[in-house]
Amino acid sequence: MRAKEKMIELVMLLCSLLTVVTTAAIIFVLVKDSIGFFREVSIGEFLTDTQWTPLFSEKHFGILPLLCGTLLTTFIAILVAVPLGLIIAIYLNEYASRKISGTLKPVLETLAAVPTVIYGFFALQFVTPLLQEVIHGLAGFNALSPGLVMGIMIIPYISSLSEDALRAVPQSLREASYGMGATRLQTALKVLVPAASSGIIVSVILAISRALGETMIVAIAAGQEPKLTADPRESVETITTYIVQVSLGDVPQDSLEYNTIFAAGMTLFVFTFLLNNISFWLRKKYQNRYE
């Protein structure tokens, strides 16, 4: 009996250790194969060269153009998602009835559940032609359309998590504000949002991290031209798109060209890893502030 209980506990411990092994394996794979890459390309060149052309005959290995594409699409997405998400969170929390917000929250969350390959199709086939009607010089592949669609997709990350944070603000603070004659808007903006600020920041960080790592929308609709540009009308290539592009091509494995995906993946991983850790730390630090 006791032996059986111990056995079960051990098996369960091993299952939870698998998550640690997974992280270790991710880091190991990225580092090991990046080393192969950095043996031939210096880190200085990687970080400062302004061209990324590993698949051409004249090769350049500067990550900046890919990073630029990634940041540009993410920036557009955040520009859409933060105002919409925050306003929706405040509306659901302070204005809508419990019943309405209880129904709308899950409906809104389906935005984040739609497979991203579908959003990619939508961005390329519907949004881009629509935008081309109004924006002069918008390329067939561009940063704007997938950025906007990605922004809609990550709204629930911000609206749901921020609404949770707003709801966690003690009722007493709300009542004090209303007692002073403040309106709902004043209460929301001057009392609730500051009180819930850490939770709101966490939601924005997670949304940024999600947008940085998004692959299919940008792979389908943003194009495959690594470019240092801030013009959203142009075609760009993100880190994620590049990784998919190389995987789909016929680059010989273990060649320098092939190893670029590990250096690119490493760069992406460092960004999302930092953002995730910051958000985790913030959440832990402020979690029990009002309990």
């Binding site: 991203t116 299919m216 995730n276």
Partner: protein, 287 residues
Amino acid sequence: MKRGNSNLLTLKDSAFKYLGITCLVIALSVLALLIWDIFSRGLLRLNWSFLSNLPSRHAEKAGIRTALAGMISLLLFTIMVAVPIGIMAGIYLEEYGRKNWFAKFVEINISNLAGVPSVIYGILGLQVFVRTAELGNSLIAGAFTLALLILPIIIVATREAIRAVPSSLRDASYGMGATKWQTTRRVVLPSAMGGILTGIILAISRAIGETAPLLVIGALAYVPFIPEGPKDQFTTLPIQVFNWTTRPQATFIVNAAAGIIILLTVTLILNSIAIYIRGRWYKKISY
């Protein structure tokens, strides 16, 4: 306070209400527009032969039979790997693990894994399963990759569900002389089942739509047959959709839209089921 000032404040207050409603309408109408666009493009293409035909170079003759079969087998393998491991890890961390630095480390680690971009899981799967374990771009390599990807979702859902079980139930069980495992299996798990099930369904829905990690492990192959064993090559519906989306011919775009109708319908149904189960379970668990 002057009267005019207070009027202005009330005005701003109700203006914000309409701003909030407008933002909600914008977000939801994009979803509606997407659904309308996909259906108006692809609905007429949906027929029995589209579901039962093999892939083809001719858009009118191409079907999603191998993609559907591949997707179902891939999901079954993924579930078989991820569900037991995820639930056991969740139980251990919530019921057994001591609250020390190690528990904290594992917790940070899981929250990190949940935030790792799926394309990175593809790189992991490529190097570990496809190449080092020499599984090739097979069904089982894809399943292992997706299993690692959805593991954090299942673990987090299991932990939250177990945390919601009132401790009075555990105490009653211990009071009757039950051991820890007996209590976990017969009391805690049944009460937490609704929450765990919700997490599993959401994880499956996520796995169904994943495309990027499968592309990275090399699943974009022309597969004119239904996989019969775990070592066979495969294709799945999202990959077939991606393949058709990237073709220039309009007829393939119609095929992509028709494939998307199926993919989207399955995803939305799974999510609705998850929301429904979660709602019922919450009512039941809050005694």
